[in-house]
């Protein structure tokens, strides 16, 4: 029996090899540029590329849409050239890590191609002097006010607080100003800035000053005056963004900071797009908001897949061109980065409104500083921590303000090396 079975083993092996000979793995001819994008942008890109797909002759373009932005980042962090994309639609702060880790490849734009973008936008996608992609859309926030509660646009931060206090009881207000888009760090920067705490400082010639931070005491005192009632929050600014959108739409909050990706929801509820920056403690010195770009980034996998020139052509012909951005943003609805596209007639009033607010007071989102944690915590963690400490835990606004200033200074100083 055993002998027979051993024989069977042989028979199986022989037969299996014979059968397996029938399947021959196919060699794959590669003339496809693969673009990875998140769940919002991906399907829209696909739609646009279906309408017109001949941006690079001889190539087909496939878009892989991930279920959401985090999933896209997770996958890109893990991908190798076996399956990685040729172009990835990513955030500007992916550039330093991607470039350091050898996942992103530099591209060189011609002078005329560069002229289509602002210097700040290109700077957003630059790491150590090399550019890693082309800017596609602008991400920013702006303040919107409810015209039923607010008759004229506020000129100072104090005006808004006064209006809140006057109407709190009679109108049943739940807060004065809240952050509906972008969270208590990214979205709330313009509040920090309006009260005197910018993430980094510029000198008179708009050059970054690396070894200085905002004045923690001045900022803390402004917070005391406008946001606190003794040691407790006066209710003007909630420490978290939860519920802000609903309460604003319900007419329970007069001012809200909203993101440029969600204006359609507000328009649908009948709000006018009266967008403006957050007014500062004195008139005409509005708080600065982050105006960052998302870009189409070139990967090092493109060269491995033998489509490097094709991918570069796609970046300049489609992602970075007026025609491409107009077609794409018509579906996507974010403000286009490219100058020609931004002026195009198809750009909506809201898209323009955000653009206008951005030109009034915008700050480049410099990942090298904001992601740095040399001071003990990066911007994204320390900013919301300040609101919690002061508005919830009742800690001293000035003491915490000075801690925050020290952290941001250390991060900026250390982050200089990553520029």
């Amino acid at each position: 029996m055993t002998k027979k079975r051993l024989g069977a083993v042989g028979v199986i092996a022989a037969a299996a090899i014979a059968v397996s000979g029938l399947f021959v793995p196919s060699a794959n001819a590669n003339n496809t540029i693969v673009v990875w994008a998140d769940g919002d942008r991906g399907p829209n890109l696909e739609k646009v590329l279906k309408e017109k797909g001949d941006w690079v002759s001889g190539y087909t373009i496939t878009v892989k849409s991930f279920s959401n932005f985090d999933a896209l980042k997770d996958a890109f962090d893990k991908a190798t050239d076996a399956s990685g994309p040729d172009i990835v639609m990513g955030a500007n702060d992916w550039v330093p890590t991607g470039a350091k880790s050898g996942k992103l490849a530099p591209i060189t734009l011609t002078a005329s191609q560069k002229a289509r973008f602002t210097a700040g936008q290109l700077f957003d996608l630059t790491y150590k002097g090399k550019l890693y992609g082309v800017p596609v859309d602008v991400n920013n926030v702006a303040m919107i006010y409810n015209t039923d509660l607010v008759k004229t646009a506020p000129k100072t931060f104090g005006e808004m607080v006064a209006l809140y206090k006057a109407n709190k009881a009679s109108k049943g207000l739940k807060a004065g100003l809240c952050v509906a888009g972008g969270g208590m760090s990214w979205g709330a920067h313009s509040i920090f800035s309006a009260l005197g705490a910018d993430a980094y400082q510029f000198d008179s010639r708009d050059k970054i000053v690396y070894n200085r931070s905002f004045n923690g005491t001045t900022f803390g005192k402004n917070v005391r005056t406008h946001l606190l009632d003794g040691k407790k929050s006066n209710g003007f600014l909630p420490a978290s963004d939860a519920g802000c959108k609903d309460n604003f739409l319900d007419g329970k909050v007069p001012y809200a900071i909203i993101g440029n990706w969600e204006w359609k929801d507000y328009v649908a509820k009948g709000f006018t797009m009266n967008l403006m920056p957050v007014p500062g403690v004195v008139a005409n010195k509005p708080g600065k908001m982050f105006g960052s770009v998302s870009g189409a980034l070139l990967t090092t996998f493109a060269a491995k897949h033998g489509v490097e020139a094709g991918a570069k052509s796609l970046l300049t012909n489609f992602f970075g061109s007026t025609d491409g951005q107009v077609r794409y943003q018509k579906v996507e609805g974010r403000p286009p980065a490219e100058k020609g596209a931004a002026l195009d007639a198809t750009v909506s009033a809201a898209q323009r409104g955000f653009g206008a607010a951005a030109t009034l007071s915008s700050l480049p989102q410099i990942g090298a500083f904001l992601n740095n944690n040399a001071g003990g915590a990066n911007y994204w963690d320390s900013a919301p921590a300040y609101w919690t400490a002061v508005l919830v835990d009742g800690k001293d606004a000035v003491v915490e303000g000075n801690k925050l200033a020290a952290i941001w200074r250390a991060n900026t100083t250390a982050g200089k090396a990553d520029l």
Binding site: A8, A16, N31, G102, T300, G310, K312, V392
Partner: protein
């Protein structure tokens, strides 16, 4: 029926099934070899061999039961673990992720700089005298030339077809690539240096544009170093995964590669105060959290199982409601709970009429986490406890009742010990699960509250796995090497605790 498992039919059936499986696996092995994936190919080959050996001979009866499970475990659980543990010996972090060969290639690819003016030309790609060539239009100087890897051939504008943008479309002896040739053009033209002047050359930036660049760095494979051609600086392997200037270690080339650092990641855990302090407090909370979670979920589950162990009215409805927390996707439930605990707008403060800042206070946050985990976990223990209750032989209970024991005594002396015996593997597994219950912590509190402004690394509700995750996949620096070292330490700890628990509960003693 018995004969089916012994007879020739069964043997033939088995043979055919094995034949099919083996042929699929061998096909895969071949393709794996063809693609150069030798590890996977070896695994597949061994799999085929083991399958045949186990199911066609009588080498080992237990192996017939184990083999599929073992193979799956090795492929998708053990080998990733081994890879992760290996990484703990490397400086596997942002900037040092790829292999050395790959890093050299990348540095070489970035070793160019455009000329001072950023000169660029419109180009057409094609062939000149059977070589890859560019037809270059220098619109600034209104000059035209053909450039190959070897030569630069000036052209007379009069001989060319020039379009309305001033770009030459065709030239004598220059064959513009046809559409079908374009298919392979990328591989042929990308990365080539077309002649311009002096040390400068033209490189492709897409199919329409050429950029004037020069090489800055050159690789010396023999000495294993990069030389800066212009400044003469020398970058050597610094042993830490980068090419750096010897007397100026901060000047290094990017990207770096993953280099072995042996035990550095482990010694960091004990020598760096910034890591050591939080690790201890996080460990204590992790054990507390896991124990409390098991206790509360098991207690409530068991209580419900006891309450519904009798056919009372509405039992079916109750059961269906009790399973609901289990049926809901847990990400949804956790985030809903997170919102319910919100200070200003949350339902819990509304319900209680309080304004507690749940997630800003360490104690409240811990309580919230245990409560949410109770909600998520009790249906499981309700299910398994009611199953186990049914599995206790009723004779035992009847006998005890006849002996005059009251229900409470019966429960304490007979039911509970028996239940614990049946369920202790599950309790231990549940402890291990909660020890690493990343989703709950990450989605509910994110590990907070944390005194970020005071420079604390770990939050009050961070458990080891969420703390490690921050290190491994944090937003700015991702240090997978260090995280792997921590995870190995976590593993040893939880394994030790669980083995101790197993010994204590005598589960393993039932094995002879």
């Amino acid at each position: 029926m018995t004969s089916f498992f012994r007879g020739k039919i069964s043997f033939a059936f088995k043979l055919v099934a094995l034949l099919l499986i083996a042929s699929v696996l061998i096909t895969l092995t071949q393709s794996a070899v063809a693609q150069g994936e030798y590890f996977i190919a070896a695994f597949l080959g061994i799999t085929v061999f083991l399958l045949a050996l186990t199911y066609l001979t009588k080498v080992s009866i237990p192996l017939k039961f184990f083999l599929p499970g073992i193979l799956l475990l090795v492929a998708f659980v053990l080998s990733p673990i081994i890879f992760t543990v290996t990484m703990s010996g490397y400086n596997y972090k942002t900037g040092n992720i790829i292999s050395k060969d790959e890093a050299i290639l990348q540095i070489q690819n970035r070793a160019f700089e455009p000329d001072a003016n950023g000169t660029s030309f419109d180009i057409k790609i094609g062939r000149y005298q059977a070589q890859e060539a560019l037809l270059v239009s220098d619109s600034v100087n209104n000059a035209f030339f053909i450039s190959t890897v070897r030569d630069r051939i000036p052209l007379n504008p009069a001989d060319l077809t020039i379009n309305e943008y001033g770009v030459a479309e065709s030239a004598p002896d220059f064959a513009v690539l046809s559409d079908s040739e374009m298919a392979n053009a990328d591989k042929l033209y990308s990365g080539k240096r077309f002649t311009y002047q002096d040390e400068y050359f033209i490189a492709l930036e897409g199919f329409e544009v050429g950029i004037v660049s020069r090489q800055v760095l050159s690789f010396d494979a023999e000495k294993d170093q990069f030389n800066n051609i212009i400044t003469g600086e020398v970058y050597t392997d610094n042993g830490k995964g980068n090419y750096a200037i010897a007397d100026n270690p901060d000047q290094y080339l990017e990207p770096g590669w993953r280099a072995p650092v042996w035990f550095e990641n482990y010694t960091k855990l004990f020598t760096e105060e910034r890591l050591r302090g939080p690790l201890i407090s996080v460990f204590i909370w992790t054990v507390t959290f896991a124990s409390l979670s098991v206790l509360t979920t098991f207690a409530l589950g068991l209580l419900l199982a006891l309450a519904l162990n009798k056919p009372i009215r509405g039992r079916r409805v109750y059961r269906s409601i009790l399973i609901l927390p289990y049926a809901m996707p847990s990400i949804m439930s956790i985030l809903i709970w997170g919102g319910m605990f919100n200070t200003e707008f949350g339902a819990i403060n509304n319900l209680l009429g309080t304004d507690i800042a749940w997630f800003q206070n360490a104690l409240f946050a811990k309580f919230a986490i245990i409560l949410v985990n109770l909600w998520l976990g009790f249906p499981y223990f309700y299910l398994v406890s009611s199953g186990a209750l049914q599995a206790i032989p009723s004779e035992l209970l009847e006998a005890a009742a006849i002996d005059g024991a009251n229900p409470r005594q019966i429960f304490r002396r007979i039911t509970l010990p028996l239940l614990l015996q049946i369920l202790s593997p599950l309790l231990i597994a549940s402890f291990a699960f909660n020890f690493n219950n990343f989703n709950l912590i990450y989605l509910l509190t994110g590990g907070g509250p944390r005194a970020e402004l005071d420079g604390e690394l770990a939050g009050a509700t961070d458990i080891l796995i969420s703390f490690t995750y921050k290190i491994a996949f944090g937003s700015s620096v991702q240090d997978l090497g260090l995280a792997s070292a921590i995870s190995l330490v976590i593993f040893l700890l939880v394994a030790g605790i669980s083995l101790y628990g197993l010994r204590k509960s005598k589960v393993l003693e039932s094995f002879q």
